[in-house]
Amino acid sequence: MAHEAVRIQRGPLGRLLERTGGGLVQVIMVLIALFWLIPTLGLLVVSLRDDAANNSSGWWTFFTKPAQLTFENYTNLLASGFTSSFWNTVLITVPATLLVIGISSMAGYAFAWIDFRGRDSLFLVVIALLVVPIQIALIPIAKLYGFLNIFGSIAGVVLFHVAFGLPFAIFLLRNFFVGIPRSLLEAARMDGAAEWRIFATVVFPLAKPAIASLGIFQFLWVWNDLLVALVYADTANQPMTKALQSQMRQFGTNIDILSSGAFLSLIIPLVLFFAFQRYFVQGLLAGSVK
């Protein structure tokens, strides 16, 4: 009877899994993944077909006529000056990510491990900043940038991203650092390490998984951002998102440049994700205590 009860608790899905032995689950997962990949695949195919083909038939027809594919769109893209906006994106994204990681890891360490007056209330303020929406700040910051003479520049965009990335980053890293056993820091202190050394040689290496996840999030957020770029970047400093947006016309679109540009903007974060993905699954603290 007890056995029956357990079975009922598992529910019909559980029983189904029990019978199919997990194989079915894998098939379903693959199907879902493929389903989600369809737009990306479509984009890739569109970017590889010429204008005439794209205008006359849907991208899925390439399955029957693969010979139509061409790199012409990409050549057009490079000729159109899109490369400068690509570099602008890099120039915005890389500093905005590194600055956030650098500042938030130090701030997180201080919030987690250094005892100072008003620490907890200050942290509460940081948490509160999490709920401030970007739109609220757009106009005041624009005025400030005008005053500082950085309106339209890359620095302005970077600063805005850093400012709005920090609350979440500090929150995330502080909570990760708090989970590091106190005795590990104390051992380092006994071994003769001062605060900076503890941060650099003990805490930072241990926090790699958290920092990698944070880095990916921040990178993607900034890389894909359109709103901030639209407001603060002028045409010379516009990132890819804004450049792509400017290709949209009221009557029709430059589908060749849009598709290839969009695919290019997608490939870099993908590469980055695969480069760092091992950190997501790694438990670096294993074996340190007990």
Binding site: P181, S183, L184, E186, A187, A188, R189, M190, D191, G192, A193, A194, R197, T201, V202, P205, L206, L284, L285, A286, G287, S288, V289, K290
Partner: protein, 406 residues
């Protein structure tokens, strides 16, 4: 190496909790000092204050000739072994051992030499390239020790370093610790809540309770001459038996009577415990160690002059080499604050016997040849030379040199 002196050391936590209270302790050069007590007694706090991980609220701590009150841990020239080992998980064993030396800018060759020596001493040579995650609990523990050893510090501080090991490993590590101390001769302060560890490791043992020092002495002296009820009840396993008793003197000499028994008190006891004669005709708390009992059958004849009491065994715990006989006596349990405090921290679960209010449970440790079974009656002999007497009010041991005049 150096001595460590604590004078009038206080620790008050935010919120007014006083964890350590006017602690005076001198740890001699090369001595192995064990701080022991129930949880919350302030032993770890005291150790962490010596280490510099905890601020000192009052008093003075000196290591060697230096007052270290305001020195950061790294300048105190001491090494610490943590309960959970606290190894750096992203470094190999070798890097873990070398970390402290590297920070001190020691030449590479010297670091290599020390690491290899320590690894050899601890049998870690083949694990030097491994990370802590790939080591067993005992090996991790040895790495933690090694990290302290390579530093060649003035003193080792150890915070319950064996309590995360399983029982068997703990015993063998205890022996290696003893050997290590013999070999290196470094002043060591060792914190534990395990009184067996305290007895076996310490040159001297310091018993703490609620932040107050109770007694500092050699393990044997703590066992034979506890200063008060708390120390008497805390040290020794099974714990000492207590009962309210009347000390009387009649024609046949002095005796102590309790629960219908009357044990003669030898004259030597009165010379041993000055002031005890003032308690004649008064009520005292009597303490008898379980090991001072013996089954009269197993003792056959060798118990000349020992007192005998007939009892019925309620429970027997056979340990192979001996048997713990639990029996009840017709006397109300002693409920002095000290005995309660000592009993409540013990690892042993409270014995679940349905006691009526006026019976108390005693334990006798008898020879395994006794073959006594639960429910059987047996006659116990008691070594009356080792009776302990405590003041009913203060709980202090009567006639202990530290208590004379108190």
């Amino acid at each position: 190496m150096a001595s460590i002196v604590l004078s009038n050391v206080d620790k008050v936590y935010a919120g007014g909790v006083k964890a350590v209270n006017g602690l005076n302790l001198e740890i001699k050069d090369g001595e192995f000092m064990v701080l022991v007590g129930p949880s919350g007694c302030g032993k770890s706090t005291a150790l962490r204050m010596i280490a510099g991980l905890e601020d000192i609220s009052g008093g003075e701590i000196s290591i060697g000739d230096r007052v270290v009150n305001h020195l950061p841990p790294k300048d105190r020239d001491i090494a610490m072994v943590f309960q959970n080992y606290a190894l750096y998980p992203h470094m190999t064993v070798e890097e873990n051992l070398a970390f402290g030396l590297k920070l001190r800018k020691m030449p590479k060759a010297e670091i290599q030499k020390r690491v290899n020596e320590a690894a050899k001493m601890l049998g870690l040579e083949q694990y030097l390239k491994r990370k802590p995650a790939a080591l067993s609990g005992g090996q991790r523990q040895r790495v933690a020790m090694g990290r302290a050893i390579v530093r060649e510090p003035q003193a080792f501080l150890m915070d319950e370093p064996l309590s995360n090991l399983d029982a068997k490993l703990r015993v063998s590590m205890r022996a290696s610790l003893n050997q290590l101390h013999e070999r290196l001769g470094v002043t060591t302060v060792y914190v534990t809540h395990d009184q067996v560890e305290a007895m076996t490791l310490g040159d001297r043992v310091c018993v703490l309770r609620d932040g107050f020092l109770q007694q500092v002495d050699t393990p044997q002296n703590l066992f034979d001459r506890p200063v008060n009820l708390f120390v008497a009840g805390f040290m020794g396993s099974p714990a000492m038996n207590f009962a309210y008793a009347d000390l009387v003197r009649d024609g046949s000499g002095a005796a102590v009577s309790f629960a219908g028994f009357k044990l003669p008190v030898p004259d030597s006891t009165f010379t041993d415990k000055p002031g005890l004669d003032r308690y004649v005709g008064k009520r005292v708390i009597l303490g008898i160690r379980p090991s001072d009992f013996e089954d009269s059958v197993a003792a056959n004849g060798s118990s000349g002059g020992w007192a005998r009491i007939p009892v019925t065994a309620n429970v027997t715990e056979e340990l192979g080499s001996e048997i713990n006989v639990l029996f009840t006596i017709d006397a109300p349990p002693v409920e002095h604050k000290d005995t309660v405090a000592a009993a409540h921290d013990g690892d042993e679960e409270e014995v679940a016997l349905p006691l009526t209010g006026d019976k108390s449970l005693w334990t006798a440790r008898v020879n395994a040849r006794s073959h006594v079974r639960p429910g059987q009656s047996l006659e116990l002999v008691i070594d009356t030379h080792n009776l302990h007497f405590f003041d009913v009010e203060s709980g202090l041991a009567i006639g202990h040199e530290a208590n004379v005049g108190r």
